[in-house]
């Protein structure tokens, strides 16, 4: 069996894939229903696989495969994990110079990756569409999107994408200067979706997640973590009480897992915590899979049968997939 490498060349499977055995997670006292129900599949990381999985910042499911985006600043990467294992889908010329990818999601057979393109004028928000993860084309953005800023997160529901980000005050001072939102429809047309976003004081939207019942928006400002939900990309956004975390913190990923909302939060000392929304509010849960708290989770894609989470530990890309 073979997989696709950069530029579409075929790479013998044994050279880039190594799968670990399916292991049932031991359920300790107080472990969540979610954790008890889970098993994990450990998939290759940079230390285990010849294919280098760099920092992963976004995940999506496309036709049963997992698409991961990330890489380094100005060196974006897209990978696919299929039954054949991991394959890198893009090369150095796949995106405009200066591109960094922050997130990706899929709606049907279409992918939308978002991030920024850094030029002499500073970083500018950017979005790219693809049908296969290998060939990407830039999406034209509405005029209201700030010239200076970065798209931080994207989510898709019912065929429509919502991507969000922040403007910056100046190219020199990359202080968040107001959030923006853009809806991308089935035909690839983008429209402004920033009017109803929660107002922030000196803060930024840090994530948007697609849940079974709508979008969940996460932000951080001087008052701490902020959450809001909406049935559609254009709102209306309704405030959601956040988990009880003291000090500065920011939500980074959310998904519906096993029928419940799971939220990942990074606190003021860069420690990741996991929260499950229940009838009485948020309850802290163990990390999904085998992730330790020093792994900064940056992406999660939920579902009925399996959950995938990814991020970075140091500069090493980390990916775990568990059965839900």
């Amino acid at each position: 069996m073979q997989g696709s490498g950069p530029g579409g060349q075929r790479v013998p499977r044994r050279e880039f894939v190594r799968r670990a055995a399916l292991v049932t997670v031991a359920a300790g006292a107080g472990a969540s229903t979610l954790a008890r129900a889970m098993a994990r599949t450990v998939v290759p990381t940079v230390t285990e696989a010849p294919i280098e999985l760099g920092p992963v910042s976004g995940l999506a499911r496309l036709r049963g495969d997992t698409i991961a985006v990330g890489g380094d600043d100005g060196a974006p990467r897209v990978w696919r994990r299929s039954d054949a294992g991991w394959a890198r889908l893009t090369g150095d010329g796949s995106f405009p110079p200066g591109t960094s990818l922050a997130d990706v999601d899929a709606a049907g057979d279409r992918l939308l990756a978002v991030g920024s393109i850094v030029s002499a004028r500073g970083p500018a928000p950017a979005a790219f569409a693809s049908n296969d993860g290998e060939s990407w084309s830039a999406v034209s953005l509405p005029g209201a999107v700030p010239d200076l800023g970065a798209a931080t997160s994207v989510a898709a529901r019912r065929g429509r994408f919502l991507f969000v980000g922040t403007g910056f005050e100046s190219a020199e001072v990359l202080e968040p200067a107001g959030p923006f939102g853009v809806e991308v429809g089935p035909d690839g047309t983008s429209t402004w979706a920033g009017n109803g976003l929660p107002s922030l004081h000196h803060g930024a939207i840090t994530m948007v997640g697609a849940l079974d019942d709508g979008f969940l928006l996460g932000a951080t400002d001087v008052a701490g973590m902020r959450l809001a939900s909406s049935p559609g990309p254009a709102g209306p956004w309704v405030s959601v009480p956040p988990p009880p975390i003291e000090g500065p913190s920011a939500p980074v990923a959310a998904a519906t897992v096993d029928g419940a909302t799971v939220l990942v939060v990074v606190d003021g000392v860069d420690i990741t915590s996991w929260w499950r929304r229940e009838s009485r509010g948020w309850r802290r849960i163990p990390p999904i899979g085998d992730l330790t708290t020093d792994v900064r989770v940056q992406a999660m894609v939920g579902g009925r049968s399996k959950v995938a989470v990814a991020g970075v530990a140091g500069h090493r890309g980390v990916y775990e997939e568990v059965a839900a």
Partner: protein, 244 residues
């Protein structure tokens, strides 16, 4: 290290701390400060230590008994997982400097206080920040920063006449220490140039170029700190420089 990029946050060499060189840092706002461990890049923490040493030296030397020793630094966050320098652990939002007998209360908007002594103290703290952190955003910069001073340090601190932040600070200094009466708009023009020249003549700063030299910019900040903590006008000339 850049403050933009693929990931919204992350640090290369994290430093956890609840004090800067032994001085506690407390998160929150007046009446609600809590000592809590926070994080930043280790290199940035080193800059914070240098900054606080300098601030303490000048407030001790020129501020009188009320400013002997800093009790704590109040803040609204260092590393926060969001786009920009906070997300890279290269920024701190300072909202209070508490000495034994007096405070600089950025949270309360001291830059706009009706009392000149309070404004001068704010400018002294502002100057202490600019001596070490190129991107210091204060209450004159915009509405987002009326309740804290943002510092980040991803380039060397030299003044820039194109920088709204730098020019606004200089205009405020000229107004509060030498009665310049210029509009604080962050725009460098002939009136600001005259105010700059007059202030430097008054307190004896000459022969150095803070717009081209990091050392000269730091020395100019020393003039502001000395006069600000002492609550003296430029003409009092309470600080002497061997360099400028």
């Amino acid at each position: 290290m850049s403050c933009s990029g693929a990931t919204s946050c992350g640090m290369v060499d994290r430093k956890d701390f609840d004090a800067i060189g032994g001085t506690p840092v407390r998160y929150g706002s007046p009446g609600n400060y809590v000592r809590r461990t926070i994080s930043c890049e280790r290199s940035f923490y080193g800059d914070l230590v240098d900054w606080l040493k300098s601030l303490k030296y000048f407030s001790d030397a020129f501020g009188g008994a009320q400013m002997n020793g800093v009790d704590f630094i109040g803040h609204a966050g260092a590393f926060v997982c969001k786009p920009g320098c906070h997300g890279r652990g290269l920024a701190l939002d300072i909202n209070r400097v508490q000495w034994a007998g007096v405070a600089c209360n950025m949270f309360g908007g001291d830059h706009a206080s009706g009392t000149r002594r309070v404004r001068r103290r704010y400018l002294a703290v502002d100057a202490s920040c600019r001596k070490f952190f190129k991107y210091t955003l204060d209450g004159w910069y915009n509405a987002q920063h009326t309740n804290h001073i943002h510092v980040d340090g991803h380039t060397r601190p030299v003044f820039d006449k194109q920088s709204v932040s730098d020019v606004g600070f200089i205009q405020a200094v000229c107004n509060n220490f030498n009665g310049a009466g210029v509009t604080v708009d962050g725009s460098w023009g002939p009136r600001t140039q005259r105010a700059w020249d007059a202030t430097n003549d008054a307190w004896g700063f000459n022969g150095c170029n803070p717009f081209g030299s990091e050392v000269a910019a730091a020395e100019w900040c020393n003039f502001v700190m000395a006069h600000g903590f002492a609550d003296e006008g430029a003409s009092a000339s309470v600080y002497r420089s061997l360099l400028c």
